[in-house]
């Protein structure tokens, strides 16, 4: 008895939830309105079937509930009824499938005027590549990947030389321009999904995959990795910024070609040394940092990391919090350093002898070791840092500095800016530390490495 009423109730609740709730597909921002239409069609067909079948079910349960004085009707089968139902269902299936297949035909077929862009996935970051003037992406293979050739382009392929490398998780695209997004992975499976565009495709190491769409709305959209790719899968996010063609061209012009990246610049160590005098006051002449002044050990940091951080300070991505005094200091310093000769400075710092700063924090190192398990994937089991993964070394770093940074991450003082890809990841990762005790254990363990 109740069950009949409950089923009617559940059907009602389902319908109410569907029509009254705010939860539905995010507003579309690409040409794929036909996908939404197909969903709509499927929704109506299945919705009608759902309501009809279950209301009939409830009615049967109610109408034919047990009654001592009645017997069931004996009817093994009813050919006509069954054939009718089968035919109707087949019709329903055809009605759903036909638009689906037609739209899939469009999905598979890339229009000729599509602009080609490559998205490269790697645990757990996104980078992008444009084909450059020749309009052809050079061949690439994971075999070629090294710290000097992070995209793994084939150096012998002439088509690759003018490819523009975007070493950043933010992709800009011109509005209303069809894009063929070529997908490549250097390590494991990933997936490039933008919910607003309704696109999604796996990146498969060892082959190349693709998808296409036309962004139709200006704005910034999240790229999510939706194929389990290991521990930090959930932190692997990127962005697509859709803008006018002019803005797009300006943006693209700021990135180097493969050839430029390969040739590298001559550095002037002596000039770097002079520049460093400004830093030496706080970071020490040997670069070992100074806990009293809250400065980190620079000798253990790699050049790319430092360059990125300076840029972040300069562009208001790091150190923006008023109460973050050391950060605020660095902001003004970074703004006063000369961007063009920064390479000299960083080369000089990199040439300093690495120094290890002794740990000062006490804690349960075996618990710390357990916690460090998650960090090891990127920072290395010896906390030596991995330049290819953009993860700085932690060993030998001042533990008070590390502590402060981890606290900043968890408070949102650092890593909150959408442009700060790795900061965002660190924010997600530090949220698993949970307590000051565990933080201390972790740092005490890192200090032993």
């Amino acid at each position: 008895m109740y069950i009949a009423i409950v089923i009617v109730g559940l059907v009602a609740i389902t319908l109410i939830l569907h029509f009254a709730s705010p939860w539905w597909l995010t507003p579309l921002a690409s040409n794929w309105s036909s996908i939404d239409t197909t969903i709509e069609i499927s929704f109506w067909i299945t919705g009608v079937v759902f309501v009809a079948v279950n209301l009939f079910l409830a009615w049967c349960v109610w109408r034919y509930r047990h009654n001592k004085d009645r017997r069931s009707h004996y009817e093994p089968e009813n050919k006509k009824l069954e054939i009718w139902l089968t035919a109707l269902t087949t019709l329903g299936v055809i009605a759903m499938l036909t638009p689906g297949l037609i739209v899939w035909g469009q999905v598979v077929h890339v229009p000729d005027d599509a602009m080609e862009v490559e998205a490269i996935g790697q645990q757990w970051q996104w980078t992008f590549r444009f084909p450059g003037d020749d309009g052809v992406l050079g061949a690439a293979n994971a075999r070629f990947v090294s710290t000097d050739n992070r995209f793994g382009l084939d150096p012998s392929d002439v088509n690759g030389a003018d490819d523009i490398l975007i070493e950043h998780h933010r992709l800009h695209l011109p509005v209303d321009q069809p894009v063929k997004l070529v997908l490549r992975s250097n390590d494991v499976l990933h997936n490039f999904a933008v919910p607003q565009f309704r696109v999604k495709m796996d990146l498969v190491p060892g082959t190349q995959t693709y998808q296409w769409f036309t962004p139709t709305r200006l704005g910034s959209f999240d790229v999510l990795c939706e194929e389990l790719c290991g521990l930090a899968h959930y932190t692997m996010k990127g962005q697509v910024q859709v803008e006018t063609n002019q803005d797009f061209q300006n943006w693209l012009a700021t990135y180097p070609t493969f050839a430029e990246v390969q040739s590298g610049n001559e550095v002037d160590l002596a000039a770097g040394e002079t520049q460093y005098q400004a830093c030496a006051g706080c970071h020490g002449a040997d670069g070992r940092g100074n806990d009293a002044l809250n400065t980190p050990n620079l000798t253990r940091l790699d050049r790319r990391y430092m360059a990125r951080q300076l840029r972040h300070y300069r562009e208001g991505i790091r150190g923006t919090e008023r109460e973050d005094t050391p950060g605020q200091t660095m902001v003004s310093i970074a703004q006063s350093t000369d961007v063009d000769s920064e390479a000299d400075l960083l080369a000089y710092i990199a040439s300093l002898d690495p120094v290890d700063v002794e740990g000062t924090l006490q804690g349960d190192t075996s618990n710390g070791q357990r916690l460090y398990g998650a960090c090891a994937a990127c920072h290395g089991t010896l906390a030596e840092g991995k330049e290819l993964l953009s993860a700085p070394a932690l060993a030998g770093q001042s533990d008070l500095y590390l502590k402060r940074q981890l606290e900043h991450f968890s408070m949102g003082w650092r890593g909150k800016h959408p442009q700060d890809q790795f900061g965002t990841q660190m924010r997600l990762m530090t949220s698993t530390i949970h307590s000051p005790e565990r933080l201390r254990d972790l740092l005490a363990y890192i200090a032993t490495l």
């Binding site: 079948v53 349960v61 509930r65 017997r71 899939w104 390590d187 999604k200 959930y234 993964l389 949220s431």
Partner: protein
Amino acid sequence: MTHIAIADQEPELHHPRTFIGKYIWSQDHKVIAIQYACTAIFVGLIALLLSVVMRLQLGFPDQFDFINPNMYLQFVTMHGMIMVIYLLTALLLGGFGNYLIPLMVGTRDMVFPYLNMLSYWFYFLSVLVLLASFFVPGGPTGAGWTLYPPQSILEGTPGSGMGIVLMLVSLAIFIIAFTMGGLNYVSTILQARTRGMTLMRMPLTIWGIFTATILGLFAFPALLVSAIMMLFDTLLGTSFFMPAIVSLGEATDYEGGSPILFQHLFWFFGHPEVYIVALPAFGMVSDVLSVHARKNIFGYRMMVWAIVFIGGLSFVVWAHHMYVSGMNPYFGFFFATTTLIIAVPTAIKVYNWVLTLWQGNIHLTVPMLFAIGFIFTFTHGGLSGLFLGNVVIDLPLSDTFFVVAHFHMVMGVSPIMVLFAAIYHWFPLVTGKQLNTRLGMIHFWGTFLGTYAIYLPMHYIGFLGVPRRYYALGDTSFIPDSAHALNANITIAAIIVALFQLIFIFNLFWTVKREPKSRINPWGAASLEWHTPDVPPRHGNWGKELPTVHRWAYDYSVPGVVEDFIPQHMADSEVVYEPGFDRTSSGREPT
């Protein structure tokens, strides 16, 4: 030597004397069934516990320090794997298959009892190996139950060392166990039926189990092959599934393999697997509905053909799990079409279940409630499957919580509802006692309403675009805050549902200890298993003489007959008609 059918052979049974022979190394299909069931329910409860821990993290991110991203992935993986393989497959086929096949087709035991016993012990071993992976360095694998390489065997995924090796070994052992059991089920059903038991007189339960077993025998090889290849990749450094890779900044020696190959192999197994757990449930629920509605199952022959057809089709739809995997995109046309075609035979089954209730005389007993709940949840889950099957719709929905909601509705709720229905239904046969009805009612309402409260909203979380296998969502620009509140509510519902299962477990023990013996055949079922000389049936099942079957299993409420059901083994001459009833007009089984 003339060939003699098993049903006509002299019985030769060696009754075990010792306790060990009777209950541990037993070759009696009923004891083996109970061993299977207990082990499966035990690991199932572990998987349930894992799901609660996962839900806590999803509902209340970062509130609990006993879970971290590593453990989250490990729990998801083990939860999924245990539920699908070690709980559902084992319980439906190893448990119910073992118990019901010989009783329902009227034989004394499986054709090869010794192999049947081995089957259980191999299953037991596979469970031990599986559980052992929780205690090895690095913990169990966290690659998702799909175990996709390359990540599953590379640093950066939890349990990529010992964890994945033990997982694969455990699966291989499970497959051996399944094959030994499955050969028995198939041969018994084909070759050892009793006199008068034609295939078209078998209860649908047997049809479901039979087809599922066949699917298993031909689908598990794909899992075995991919497991062996992956073991080679991880232990010997071969490159079946591994192309050139820079793993976490280190170059590896792998070269030239194809990750997509694994996905094809896995889903060539994986899709039939989901029907392996669905078909026995379809069969059992048909019987439960028919018995408790006191009405024959509607359209028996269509039901049989639908089962067989679904089974056959399930081998040509596998790549609907791979629409966005980067396979050749033109495959999408073929697989979308085959996938949606499956909806037709499945729809027939749904209609026939409802039509069985139509014009019936429905007893709302606990098993019946679960069966009706099943129709509702399965319809919902199946219809959401049609979204995913229609390749373009899968584009926005794949790998989101919509998929999670779909397969829980259709697999995590529906077959589980049938299992409960089946346990409540057959408990009086297995133990001679009827499970406490009041506790059963509470359990039903908690489970039915609770699971719908979990999975209905989950579809919408998926529509919003929340990806699956995410430890935490972090900040996104497109997900409203209300989604987080929704997640919290889902978690609360999940915890409540889990607590309701305790009532069920309590009920099991309570009934065995405290309840009085029930009537024999309390539901008035017509199929053979309820008509053994002893209840619970003893070793050998049938005493001296095998029963002879005279009719199908669904002669309920036959017009003119005094009783409201005619047992399968009752000859026409024994049926008592109401005085003055014209026999020639009475109903007949469809043949």
